[in-house]
């Protein structure tokens, strides 16, 4: 099943761990806040995405079920 990245932009403080762990999907803007370049998590990156989710100091990153696959 496809997984999707979601960021709580109010909780996010721009620590940047997600961009470190998932550079394929997340970059940072000039102030350090995440820019999701692709919110669909391919299977090969699922473990990295999970790790990013766990390590976010604000728990602002969520790897959830894709809204597409549940339709």
């Amino acid at each position: 099943m496809t997984r999707q990245l979601r960021i709580d932009f109010i909780a996010c403080e721009g620590a940047g761990l997600c961009a470190e762990l998932l550079p394929e999907l997340i970059t940072r803007d000039e102030w350090g806040y995440p820019v999701v370049t692709d919110d669909t998590v391919p299977d090969r990156l699922r473990q990295h995405a999970r790790q990013a989710e766990r390590l976010c100091p604000k728990l602002a990153l969520r790897v959830g079920r894709s809204s597409l696959s549940s339709a």
């Binding site: 932009f9 109010i10 721009g14 995440p34």
Partner: protein, 438 residues
């Protein structure tokens, strides 16, 4: 008020003001339909669905689906209905006008919605201090008390006065404030977890007024005005270079041209702003070709928002007006997310510098604009970015050095050169000395 064949008064015709007896003699008593099982939408649901009523706060979301979502999310405690009359958009006055003209119609609609979803309370939220507008809270409070004494409504109607701030009308911010928190946006969806953590139906005051009439006259009557996808009438607030600024009610789908004529706008305006401070500028010729409905606006890359139309005066350069709005939007942010904390300030600073001839700032502005949307705690950064992006598309040719900077960046998503308008000459003159050349 504008009197013209363009307008179709439905809501504004129920102008009984505070007088409840006059109100019911105009349109009859509140058509209650009986209570419902928790988690279900009552008999009003199919009627609203058939009418095709859409929310008038700017989202134009189907109201029947919203009622279903709230009913489905309802737990042990009954849901709550919130009438959003905060009208925090500075270019909008229609909700205040409606609440002052037909307060009982708004309350009727809210009571019908509450009955339909099994809510036990209606909260009418209006601004505490409304600038030069009359304060509505205490007056509405008296009207609600009178209705309670008459036993009109199946639920309690209470009035809450919120802070007058741009974001306090944003629905998550409003609910957060009703719950005792600051009037700042949250990521909690009110339909699931709103007032006191209960499922909460929040909609614009005008939506409930339409509901008050749909409950009485039914879907067929409602659809006699408007388009298939956006039936009914809508309240518009028109301002700027018009002889008759103010609120008018029109059937959805009528040409923008007719609305401009009804308000006696200047002929051939350079540009028209749709949707408010977080809205979209369109060149006058493009604007005139549209009709007043969400689909037509969307096709042109604009949005009607809560029915706001602002005609750019001839003597005001569009970019300067936009820079002024962008600065104000910066001060109105909640500052809870990166785009708001840093992006908005950078945006208005870039625009100011670009206006003074700083080509590097103009380039930076375009880059930052592309990065801002979709990354905020609410849609405030998106709205500001939309406004500035549209301003560059419509008035960009007036930017000093804009043509040079565009030549160096063929990949730009922004189209300059259209409708440079009345402002371009004024902008170029007197600012030439500060133009920066690379």
């Amino acid at each position: 008020m504008i009197a013209d064949t363009t307008t179709t008064a439905r809501l504004l015709k129920v102008a009984a003001g505070a007088d409840y007896t006059a109100h019911t003699s105009l349109i009859g008593p509140l058509p209650l339909r009986g209570s419902v099982r928790p988690g279900r939408v009552g008999p009003l649901g199919p009627i609203v669905a058939a009418a095709g009523l859409r929310g008038r706060g700017g989202g134009w979301f189907p109201f029947a689906r919203k009622m279903e979502a709230v009913a489905a999310a309802t737990g042990i405690r009954p849901p709550v209905v919130v009438v959003n009359g905060m009208e925090s958009e500075p270019l909008s006055t229609k909700d205040g006008h409606l609440l002052a003209t037909a307060p009982h119609l708004v309350m009727d609609g809210a009571a019908l919605a509450a009955e339909a979803i099994g809510a036990d309370r209606v909260i009418i939220a209006v601004p505490a201090a409304a600038g030069d507008r009359p304060r509505l809270g205490p007056w509405l409070d008296d009207l609600a008390a009178e209705r309670a004494a008459r036993g009109v409504d199946p639920v309690d109607i209470v009035v809450a006065e919120g802070p007058k701030r741009y974001l306090s009308g944003q629905e998550t911010a409003l609910v957060n404030w009703v719950n005792g928190g600051p009037a700042l946006p949250t990521t909690t969806r009110p339909f699931k977890k709103g007032v006191e953590g209960r499922a909460t139906l929040v909609s614009n005051a005008e939506t409930f007024a339409h509901l008050g009439l749909i409950g009485r006259y039914g879907p067929k009557w409602f659809r006699a005005a408007g388009t298939r996808d956006a039936p009914g009438t809508a309240l518009l607030t028109i301002s700027g270079a018009v002889v008759h600024p103010g609120v008018l009610e029109v059937p959805l789908g009528i040409p923008v041209q007719e609305v401009l004529r009804a308000a006696d706008a200047i002929p051939d305006p350079a540009a028209v702003l749709f949707g408010g401070y977080g809205g979209t500028w369109l060149a006058g010729t493009d604007a005139a070709a549209l009709t007043i409905d969400p689909e037509s606006m969307k096709a042109a890359g604009a949005a009607l928002g809560p029915g706001i139309i602002h005609v750019l005066p001839r003597d005001v350069p569009g970019l300067l007006r936009t820079a002024e709005i962008a600065r104000w939007m910066e001060t109105q942010g909640a500052g809870q997310c990166g785009p708001c904390r840093f992006g908005l300030r950078a945006l208005s600073a870039d625009l100011d510098r670009a206006l003074r001839g700083d080509i590097a700032a103009a380039d930076r502005l375009r880059r930052r604009l592309a990065l801002l949307p979709g990354r905020g705690g609410c849609a405030h950064p998106d709205g500001t970015a939309r406004l500035v992006t549209s301003a560059l598309a419509v008035f960009g040719a007036a930017l000093p050095g804009w043509q040079d900077s565009r030549r160096q960046d063929p990949g730009s998503r922004l189209s300059g050169g259209r409708g440079s308008g009345a402002g371009s000459a004024a902008l170029r003159s007197g600012r030439r000395g500060s133009r920066v050349r690379r």
